[in-house]
């Protein structure tokens, strides 16, 4: 089953609460969550994904430095042999009020498959991930997601 994900908060960011909530939500939906927690570097994410043979990496960034922290992430994945891995990112990805489309494009250009604005519910990301990995959530079957 392709349901292993690496979850964490990137850079010098210490926002731990959302990270716990995501861990709970994805685990409840039946994903195998490898949570590397806050203050994680790109290398931490990628090493964890290599070791656990993960199918997706979910990056959170709440403190506004996301753009600097996420640069070159996709390239490093390729070098480690993770060219197929899904990359998701979400949080307060930029500072101030910027048009969402611009922000989304910025991260898509960096090689992220999905980009989420503030206020996204875990359910939205869980649904997308199940679709992208072509898995049937009801078969993971822990908690019903609607």
């Amino acid at each position: 089953m392709r349901n292993t994900i690496v979850l964490g908060v990137i850079g010098s960011d210490c926002h731990a609460v959302g990270n716990k909530i995501l861990d709970y939500a994805f685990s409840s939906a039946g994903f195998k969550v490898i949570n590397i927690g806050v203050l994680s570097s790109q290398e931490d994410f990628i090493n964890a994904a290599v070791e656990t043979d993960a199918d997706a990496i979910l990056v959170s960034s709440l403190y506004g430095h996301g753009e600097i922290d996420c640069r070159g992430f996709r390239e490093k994945c390729e070098e480690e042999g993770l060219s197929e891995i899904l990359l998701y990112v979400g949080g307060n990805l930029v500072v101030g009020k910027q048009e969402w489309k611009t922000v989304e494009n910025l991260y898509k250009k960096m090689g992220f498959n999905r980009v989420y604005p503030p206020g996204t519910t875990p359910v939205a990301a869980i649904t997308d991930l199940a679709r992208d990995l072509k898995i049937d959530l009801s078969k993971l079957g822990k908690v019903k997601v609607s």
Binding site: Q42, E43, I46, N47, V50, Y63, G64, H65, E67, I68, R71, G72, E75, K76, E78, E79, E80, G81, S83, N92, V95, G96
Partner: protein, 463 residues
């Protein structure tokens, strides 16, 4: 008197330096046009008789002789890797640091047309990287297969994913190739490991490349050709910065070498951000770093210098009356042996030198970017912070033989800041006025302390 003879088979000149080791003195230097295309010995002998003349009858016996070479286009390397910003860049940096000329870089899995390009570039060595240890394997194996099937007569150094070694070794030996394995140039993400690659390149250079370069005959007279000339300059710079046993160096420094075809910049500096609060990102920087600007040069590259720099930048340093700068650059690029004669020639050369060195140092230095965040302004640095470098040394014909080396070197300090380039701020400017840097790098293989003291004695401080 016993002395050491140092020989540099350059692309244009064969240069000789006679050194009195005991008294730490340069006895004489001489040069003559290189004759690699015909018989390397002709140029060497001419330079040697000229050296004898300059020794003015001092009876000298050359007990030891050492040589370096950048003849016949230098040591040409093609670098292959996976991701351009990671293993390709790491491989290119390692090769540059070994004194090579990068004639091409390729990323991801190469195709047939790229193989044909590589053939046309006639490299001496192909440096094959790709994947961290245990990381991506398919790319390096694909590329090794392409090399084995289509380029088996070119020497290969494999410095990629160590977990692909057995497969690669089988491919290479099945095709009877000349190959060497060394440590991965990027063993883990964001860890740069250039030294083992540099050593391997140098060894292969001594064993194989010298043979192919028509230098073998010369070795009987001048001893082993130990290294490519740029590697000798790099070694001189390193020893001058760090010192040796019992002799202090100058601390972190840079060397700029303005040539006819390229402008080389070496920095011996950690390059860490000078202030707190600067985030350092990107591939880590090698402590001893060399960059080569193929479009900035005094002759062959004079026209590409014009194309890159443009009118205003050159005009700022050229005060002569004849303002058809483009035409002048074009004609210089066609007369690659031209030696300045008139005042205007000297003036124009100085201007080109100033612009070449200014741009080359700008490109070598790191870039600082500003980012606005909820916690205020933060800075991100990619590359080396060279603001604190204590010393900037100039070498190359236009500086050594030209009339105004100070103005040229001064120009390096006037560039870059607008674009956030972290170039040296208040370095001591110095000139390699006796043109001995490469010779001293060569000498430092055997006599490091003496080489360092001689450099400290002969490098001239300017302002």
């Amino acid at each position: 008197m016993e002395a050491v003879l140092l020989v540099d088979f350059g692309s244009t000149y064969t240069k000789l330096t006679a050194v009195d080791i005991k008294n730490e003195e340069i006895l004489a230097t001489a040069k003559s046009p290189s004759t690699v295309e015909t018989d390397i010995m002709i140029g060497l002998q001419k330079a040697y008789s000229s050296l004898k003349e300059r020794l003015k009858g001092i009876p000298v016996e050359f007990a030891e002789k050492y040589a370096c070479s950048s003849a016949a286009g230098g040591l040409k390397i093609v670098a292959l890797g996976l991701v351009p910003e990671l293993t390709v860049e790491a491989a290119a940096r390692a090769a540059l640091g070994a004194g090579a000329r990068i004639v091409g870089t390729y990323n991801h899995e190469i195709e047939m047309y790229e193989v044909e390009e590589i053939v046309a570039k006639k490299p001496d060595i192909i440096l094959l990287a790709g994947g961290t240890d245990g990381g991506n394997k398919s790319c390096i194996i694909h590329n090794a297969k392409m090399l084995a099937e289509h380029l088996s007569d070119i020497s290969v150094i494999a410095a990629g994913n160590s977990k692909a070694r057995e497969e690669l070794e089988k491919l290479f030996s099945d095709h009877k190739m000349c190959y060497r394995f060394t440590e991965n140039v990027m063993p883990r993400l964001n860890i740069l490991n250039v030294e083992p690659v540099r050593q391997t390149i140098r060894k292969l250079f001594i064993e194989r490349i010298v043979l192919a370069r028509g230098l073998k005959r010369a070795e009987k007279y001048v001893g082993k050709v130990l290294m490519p000339t740029p590697a000798a300059v790099m070694q001189a710079a390193a020893i001058l910065a760090d010192g040796t046993e019992g002799e202090d160096g100058y601390g972190e420094l840079m060397v700029v070498d303005i040539g006819g075809a390229t402008t080389d910049v070496h920095s011996i500096a950690a390059g860490e951000p000078l202030e707190a609060g600067i985030n350092w990102y990107g591939l880590p920087e090698p402590y001893a770093k060399r960059t080569v600007e193929g479009d900035l040069g005094m002759r062959v590259s004079a026209y590409s210098l014009w194309q890159t720099a443009g009118y205003q930048r050159i005009r700022k340093y050229y005060t002569g009356s004849n303002s058809d700068i483009e035409q002048k650059c074009l004609s210089l690029s066609e007369q690659i042996d031209k030696i300045p004669v008139t005042d205007d020639d000297f003036e124009f050369d100085a201007a080109l030198g100033a612009v070449a060195v200014q741009m080359a140092v700008e490109r070598h230095a790191g870039v600082l970017e500003k980012h606005y965040t909820p916690t205020g302004l933060v800075y991100a640095l990619q590359g080396k912070d060279l603001r604190g470098v204590s010393c900037l040394i100039g070498t190359g014909g236009v500086l050594v033989k030209g009339r105004d080396p100070q103005r040229i070197l001064q120009a390096t300090l006037e560039g870059g800041f607008g674009e956030g380039r972290l170039i040296p701020q208040k370095p001591q400017l110095m000139l390699d006025s006796s043109y001995i840097l490469s010779a001293m790098g060569l000498l430092s293989n055997v006599y490091p302390v003496q080489a360092l003291r001689i450099m400290k004695k002969y490098l001239k401080r300017i302002v």
